[in-house]
């Protein structure tokens, strides 16, 4: 039963972490430009000359 004392806070903490990440991602505007995100992957980085 003492295991519960660790496991429940861990479970809650992880859940809260996920929730915070989700709320942050909304506030950060990560769902504002879904088409742009799909396109950005095609942008070539300007590589430093080797």
């Amino acid at each position: 039963m003492t295991g519960l004392a660790f496991l429940i806070p861990i479970a809650l903490g992880m859940g809260l972490l996920g929730l915070t990440a989700f709320l942050w991602s909304i506030r950060d505007g990560q769902y504002d430009d879904m088409d742009g995100a799909a396109n950005r992957i095609l942008i070539d980085e300007e590589d430093e000359p080797v």
Partner: protein
């Protein structure tokens, strides 16, 4: 992300300005803007939003808007500054629901974890601890995630009405209260998980609904975002000043630079260019314009500067009208919506009475107040008429959104119902089966003749001149410099080209109504015009036939051209029909028990459009006809007409399925709940799933319009 949003060290000292950049079409454009702009002195960072075609620039406040526009232009992008929320489109509602959904999801998972432990046999102090933990999580979660429902229920109750959020709110609050009581008294059953799960699934439904609505509006929203925000007004002294779109007035003369978006409707006074009218017609090919041409707000001037005399501004523009029509479509009051509303309204008190009766009944039967209350809560939750309330609007929102993307604007939901019921189609000829604008046959003209003809035709507002000029511009002709251009009404145009007299004039012989004669010196050539059929007319009629709808032509035009087109398309035809005759023809069809679909554009079709069971007008139709019609299609294709009928029928199929499902669900679930066979948890799942099934079923319509 390849190019992360740059971190701004001292954002207080920086200004952020947003621009709409319609020219952003690919990943390369995003990269170019975000990479190159910060190299300009004074600009710290640029961030492109591809979906909204907007760029936010963080810059030194000393750098003005004009300098930023110039910087974007140097990269090859025409830009217009926008206000922070230029469309008035609010996605706050969706964000609020999404946040609530996230919170409810978190609560549901954790409480479920604890509940499963209780169900698998935790008891004594452990069970009490778990119940307390559940309460600790559930109370704030319910308070936060339940707010949309509580607020809506409170609104309804304070107006002495009831809506479907009332039983939900009562159910959730009762279940929470009962569970809290159980927790405090150390009882064996808590229903926190049911309450939170109900909220989670209901919120999922609401979010889906909000996303659907946003998407339906997105088409219009993206278009409105491309409206010019300001225009350069030319003063009497020839100087120009920028005037915001809202302050423009009809009659003003504005200068539209190449690449600029028009801020109001108007007619071209001077200059020849091509405009991108994709916003209004969905047609991506540039449309040539010359003096006299009518241009609309939102069109983008592509090649050369134009001077435009404004005719309609702000809320009177064609595009604002479209936005208004869309709004009307959203607030439709169709038969099915009314049935659903009435059913939901009558049904909500029934839900409450049933729950109360269940409680009283089980109390009398001696079940004890705890069990009776549990059953009453289950009845309350399971019989909530959400699925019934969603059955119609969900289907109509998806269908009109899908049709809008295919170039057909349905004005309201009842139009979809009536379109679905049509069994015979009557089509006008000019402007409906045909394009309605004369196209010149210029195959016989040489390059020199073409450029002279264009130089002359550009000077006139006569429909034939405009048709000729449009055809020539499309063929790539360059206007010749013509001096002394004079237009004699009813006779034609004359002018001088390199010392030679040139003219576009009426040919001899009155029968050739659609022709003009080009004279260069003494040589003369006759140019004939035709009003061509819409390219997909035959395919559209075949598609209508496939839906079991026979079509015929009802035209006010002369017999010969009507018969020619009727034979070409294999249709029956009536020519020489006056507006009264058209009306009578539709009335007689209705008297025979048919439900006619009228497709027409002219003023003379107005009464027939209004009398028909359902009606569709092309976007080029007169205002009166567009008002009378149930739907308006834009662009040169006729296919949206057939598509409208097909999607309308699919919509009604889906609506009937939704109704059938909602009724069957209630018939099955209510007796089970009343007999106490359903726990609040199962009730929460069943009820939410029924709503999601209805929404999901409606979403299938988006695919129906695509095929």
């Amino acid at each position: 992300m390849n190019s992360p949003a740059p971190i701004i060290a001292d954002s207080s000292a920086l200004a952020t300005t947003r621009f709409t950049v319609p020219g952003m079409k690919c990943a390369g454009c995003i990269g170019k803007i975000e990479r190159e702009l910060p190299k300009v002195p004074g600009i710290v960072a640029a961030r492109a939003n591809f979906s909204a075609k907007r760029v936010a620039i963080s810059h030194d406040p000393a750098v003005g808007e004009d300098a930023l526009i110039a910087a974007l232009l140097a990269l090859g992008f025409e830009a217009q500054p926008v206000a922070d929320n230029p469309l008035g489109v609010d996605d706050k509602e969706r964000k609020r629901l999404t946040r609530a959904l996230g919170v409810a999801g978190f609560g549901m998972m954790n409480i479920m974890l604890l509940s499963v432990s209780v169900w698998s046999g935790a008891d004594g102090a452990t069970r009490e601890l778990f119940h307390w933990l559940s309460a600790l999580i559930a109370l704030p979660v319910i308070a936060y995630a339940g707010r949309p429902f509580f607020a809506s229920a409170w609104m309804a109750l304070s107006h002495r009405r009831t809506n479907m959020d009332v039983p939900i709110s009562i159910g959730v609050i009762l279940a929470t209260g009962l569970s809290l009581y159980e927790t405090i008294t150390g009882g064996g059953h808590a229903y926190f998980e049911s309450a939170v799960m109900l909220l989670f699934f209901l919120l999922a439904g609401r979010v889906l609904d909000a996303v659907m609505r946003d998407r339906t509006r997105a088409g219009i929203g993206a278009l409105l975002g491309r409206l010019g925000k300001a225009a350069s007004v030319i003063g009497p002294d020839g100087s120009t000043r920028r005037v915001a779109a809202g302050e423009l007035e009809p009659g003003m003369l504005v200068l539209v630079a190449a690449g600029e978006a028009l801020a109001a409707d108007g007619a071209v006074e001077d200059g020849g260019s091509a405009i991108d009218n994709a916003m209004l017609t969905g047609e991506s090919a540039p449309e040539p314009v010359g003096p006299g041409a009518v241009v609309h707000a939102g069109a983008i001037n592509l090649s050369a500067p134009l001077r435009i005399r404004l005719t309609r501004v702000a809320d009177d523009t064609a595009i604002a009208e479209i936005a208004r029509l869309m709004d009307e479509a959203g607030q439709s009051r169709s038969t099915y919506v009314r049935i659903a509303d009435r059913a939901s309204r009558l049904y909500a008190p029934v839900v409450h009475s049933l729950a109360l009766l269940a409680f009283a009944g089980w109390m009398i039967a001696g079940a004890g107040w705890h069990q009776s209350l549990t059953i009453a809560i289950a009845v309350l939750i399971i019989t909530c008429p959400c699925a019934m309330g969603l059955a119609v609007p969900a289907a109509q929102v998806v269908a009109s959104g899908a049709l809008l993307r295919r170039g057909l604007l349905v004005k309201d939901g009842s139009a979809l119902e009536r379109l679905a019921e049509c069994d015979i189609a009557v089509l006008d000829k000019t402007g409906t089966l045909t394009l309605g604008t004369p196209r010149a046959d210029i195959a016989a003209l040489g390059a020199e003749a073409r450029s002279i003809a264009l130089g002359l035709a550009q000077a006139s507002r006569h429909p034939l001149s405009q048709g000729l000029a449009a055809t020539l511009l499309r063929a790539g002709a360059v206007p010749a410099a013509i001096t002394d251009v004079r237009e004699i009404s009813g006779q034609g145009l004359t002018g001088r080209w390199q010392g030679v007299n040139v003219a576009l004039e009426r040919p001899d012989g009155a029968d050739q109504a659609l022709a003009t004669r080009l004279r260069i010196g003494t040589a003369a050539q006759t140019i004939t015009f035709a009003d061509p059929l819409r390219a997909d007319a035959a395919a559209t009629l075949a598609a209508l036939q496939a839906e079991g709808i026979a079509a015929s032509i009802l035209s006010g035009d002369r017999a010969a051209p009507v018969v020619a087109i009727a034979q070409q398309l294999g249709l029956a035809s009536v020519a020489h029909a006056s507006p009264q005759a058209k009306l009578a023809a539709l009335e007689s069809l209705k008297a025979q028990g048919h439900r006619p679909l009228m497709v027409g554009d002219g003023l003379n079709d107005g009464p027939a459009l209004a009398a028909a069971h359902a009606s569709i007008a092309p976007g080029t139709a007169s205002d009166a006809s567009q008002q009378a019609a149930d739907a308006v299609f834009i662009g040169e294709a006729l296919m949206p007409v057939a598509l409208a009928v097909r999607v309308a029928r699919a919509t009604m199929r889906i609506v009937r399925q939704n109704f059938g499902f909602a009724i069957a669900y209630n018939l099955l679930a209510v007796p089970l709940a009343l007999t106490g066979l359903v726990t609040p948890l199962i009730a929460a799942i069943a009820m939410s799933v029924s709503s999601l099934v209805v929404v999901g079923n409606s979403l299938r319509l988006a695919r129906a319009a695509r095929a």
